[in-house]
């Protein structure tokens, strides 16, 4: 079995199980309001532009087909990518896990002779905890994506794949800027334009004076060795073109076979994620070009548990994910709890399946249960990842991963035994009827059944079951 992501580095495991972490978010009315407002808005925008695309279902099918093909021949495509990037003057590094990736990047930054880097928003670097690793090596990483900058200055954690500061409103953002942004005007208001201008002013100086940038990648084209980043603000393009050295870290699953395949994803991604017909900035680069853009390019190919995901026939479709966040925005659980409850940089439905797979299910047992299996995520996913199927699959793995019987497993085994014997089953029905006397509408139930009566009455079991009625007709 290939190795899973190591513990103690990066951000894939929470400190507490989902139900406990969720309880805290649920008790925060401001958070609930911010989340409801943001997810409702983006859902509406996305639905409107998807409705405009008459071939949306065909596009989804094409996206899923390309991803299935890619994942099926991943090693071959990665070798092709490595050859093409090298040919174009880049250097390819293979990182087995977060520890190795952080070391590779730290060494590269040191070799470039700087103690500050600028960053393009990237999930991979969040996953491996690159900022923390650089900090402890005496290197200052500066996030340039507005939302990511808000999270960084606030000493906070991102709570959404696309909108890391989704849990913050503008008054909170103003406070963070006043507190933590160097050189900010103390008369700053919470007008969005003023906030953006303040960030731009601060970032402009940083862009022009920092020689190394670190980015992620949305796609890597195997046939040409081309990397692609799509974004909305243009800060990414600045990072990708201004510095001398560019270091890109990408999960190995981001490769696509050919340039033509991008056509499908560049249509799917913006509509599903930001609700735009097309993202404002698409930057692509292939190795280095003398006299134009960064003169040194390093590509770090990150595994960090992905080979283990690949080894699972059912689970591997989680690697199709293009991180559009559509599943988060439609998820009723995410909408109430927010991203922090998931304890991983990958929250929401995709996080509930991807995080436990990357770490091994035994280290993230509560996440596959953080869903009602309502299926909204599957319908929203632009590459048709069957997240409910994955959740059920991983729940089975969680149960199998337990060494000792639990109260739940004993109860489940007993229930299955009973359900497979009609006489026992009917006896259990009679017992349920008797419990009417003791139950007081279910309020006297033992744990975990008392969870029901937090907010709901339980009906009395009726005096006559259906089968009794049938027998007497």
């Amino acid at each position: 079995m290939p190795a899973t992501a190591p513990a103690g580095v990066g951000q894939l495991r929470g400190e507490e199980p989902f139900p406990a972490a969720a309880r805290r978010s649920l008790a925060d009315p401001q958070l609930r309001r911010n989340l409801r407002h943001a997810t409702t808005t983006i859902r509406g925008k996305s639905a409107a532009v998807i409705a405009e695309a008459p071939d949306w279902e065909q596009l989804r099918a094409a996206g899923a087909a390309v991803k299935a093909d890619t994942i099926a021949r991943l090693p071959e495509l990665l070798e092709q990518l490595e050859a093409k990037v090298t040919e174009a003057g880049g250097v390819v590094h293979w990182a087995a896990d977060a520890v190795e990736a952080n070391r590779i990047v730290t060494d590269l930054v040191r070799a470039a002779g700087t103690d500050r880097i600028i960053k393009v928003k990237s999930m991979a670097t969040q996953e491996i905890g690159l900022n923390e690793a650089l900090d402890s090596a005496g290197i200052t990483p500066v996030e340039t994506d507005l939302a990511e900058l808000i999270v960084q200055l606030g000493g906070d954690r991102p709570s959404h794949i696309l909108v890391p500061a989704i849990h913050r409103n503008r008054a909170e953002i103003r406070d963070i800027f006043l507190r933590a942004m160097p050189g900010v005007d103390p008369s700053l208001t919470d007008d969005p334009a003023a906030l953006a201008a303040a960030a731009r002013h601060y970032l402009r100086k940083t862009f022009l004076s920092t020689p190394v940038a670190v980015s992620g990648a949305n796609f890597a084209v195997a046939e040409t060795g081309t990397l692609a980043v799509v974004e909305s603000e243009g800060n990414g393009r600045m990072c990708l073109t201004l510095p001398e050295t560019l270091i890109t870290i990408m999960g190995v699953e981001k490769v696509v076979p050919t340039w033509r395949d991008l056509e499908v994803f560049l249509q799917l991604l913006p509509r599903a994620s930001t609700g735009e017909r097309m993202n404002p900035y698409t930057s692509m680069w292939t190795g280095v070009t003398p006299g134009d853009g960064p003169q040194a390019f390093h590509l770090v190919l990150l595994d960090n548990g992905r080979s283990a995901v690949l080894a699972d026939e059912v689970g591997r479709q989680a690697l199709w994910c293009i991180r559009c966040s559509a599943c988060l925005n439609v998820c009723p659980v995410y909408e109430r709890t927010g991203g922090h409850a998931y304890g991983s940089v990958y929250p929401g439905p995709i996080g509930a399946v991807l995080s436990p797979q990357l770490t091994g299910v035994a280290e993230n047992t509560s996440l596959p249960y953080a869903s009602t299996l309502c299926g909204a995520c599957y319908d929203a996913c632009p590459v048709k990842i069957d997240i409910p199927e994955l959740l059920v699959h991983l729940r089975a793995e969680v149960v199998e991963s337990r060494r000792r019987p639990t109260a739940e497993s004993i109860a489940m085994a007993a229930a299955a035994h009973t359900m497979d014997r009609v006489g026992w089953y009917e006896a259990a029905q009679r017992a349920a009827r008797l419990s009417r006397l003791a139950g007081r509408r279910g309020r006297g139930l033992p744990p975990p059944l008392n969870g029901w009566t937090v907010s709901r009455d339980l009906p009395d079991a009726p005096a006559e079951t259906f089968r009794d009625w049938w027998a007497r007709r």
């Binding site: 953080a370 729940r395 149960v399 089953y425 907010s455």
Partner: protein, 257 residues
């Protein structure tokens, strides 16, 4: 037509009125309903909580018992969803290919009530009378696993006396989710609170759906808050007629003979 009833364990034990209504409705439409002996439970709770090996005997029992029938109906979107989408998967995971194909064959003959009425029996006007303001909650498994679409609404629109009011944010999950309601009771409650808010905003007297489980959740919440709004299974509404004693406000009396 001869139709086999898969009652589901929840309807059998806790909500027999929904199953009785299904029988009376189909008989009123001129069909013969049979209740196959030995049936218990589809194993949904086991499968969705991660206990797939434990569910295998239940899948086998269900497939063997119902294989004898050409048309099978259950008054539950989620149990039909389990039969249709999960039984073969569970059998395959256990390495039983023969059971998997048997399960697939049974699944292809198993219908949720609104599917049976509209697609197989070809009726939308079932001759029902139900003089109440009703709002319909499309349960997730009916909506996204079975894709029943607007079939329940088409049936409800033909019910005489019934005032159908649209439920805001209808397609959002009510927060039940089987053992989710216990394992994540706080999140489940937050989702339920929003669902109840929407139900109450319609001014309806009755919230209906095609799943007793979701109705147990929504109805349990509405009862706890003493809202006076009742949760009633779709089958009970469709079974009600103008005959004295069948269209009453009490759902249980709606189906007593």
């Amino acid at each position: 037509m001869r139709i086999a009833l898969f009652v589901t364990c929840l309807a059998d034990t806790m909500f027999p009125q929904a199953a009785k209504a299904t029988v009376l409705l189909l008989e009123r439409l001129g069909h013969e309903v049979v209740f196959p002996d030995g049936q218990t439970c589809c194993g949904q709770m086991h499968i969705n909580t991660g206990y797939q090996p434990e569910a295998v005997p239940l899948v086998r029992r269900h497939a063997r018992i119902f294989d004898a029938y050409d048309v099978i109906v259950a008054p539950s979107g989620s149990c039909v969803g389990t039969v249709r989408q999960q039984h073969a998967m569970v059998a395959r995971r256990a390495g039983d290919e023969r059971l998997a194909s048997l399960a697939e064959s049974v699944a292809a003959r198993t219908y949720e009530l609104s599917e049976l009425l509209v697609d197989v029996l070809g009726v939308t006007d079932v001759g029902a009378y139900y003089p109440h303001r009703v709002t319909y909650h499309p349960t997730c498994h009916s909506l996204r696993v079975l894709r029943v679409g607007d079939r329940p609404l088409r049936l409800l629109r033909e019910v005489r006396g019934l005032g159908l009011v649209e439920l805001p944010a209808a397609e959002q999950c009510c927060g039940f989710g089987g053992t989710f309601a216990l394992k994540n009771a706080d999140t489940s409650t937050a989702m339920l609170a929003d669902k109840m808010h929407h139900v109450l905003s319609t001014g309806a007297d009755v919230c209906t759906a095609s799943d007793s489980s979701c109705l147990m959740h929504i109805g349990g919440g509405l009862s706890r808050l003493r809202t006076g709004v009742r949760a009633v299974h779709l089958a009970e509404i469709l079974a009600s007629t103008e005959q004295p004693g069948t269209a009453g406000a009490q759902s249980r009396s709606a189906v007593t003979r």
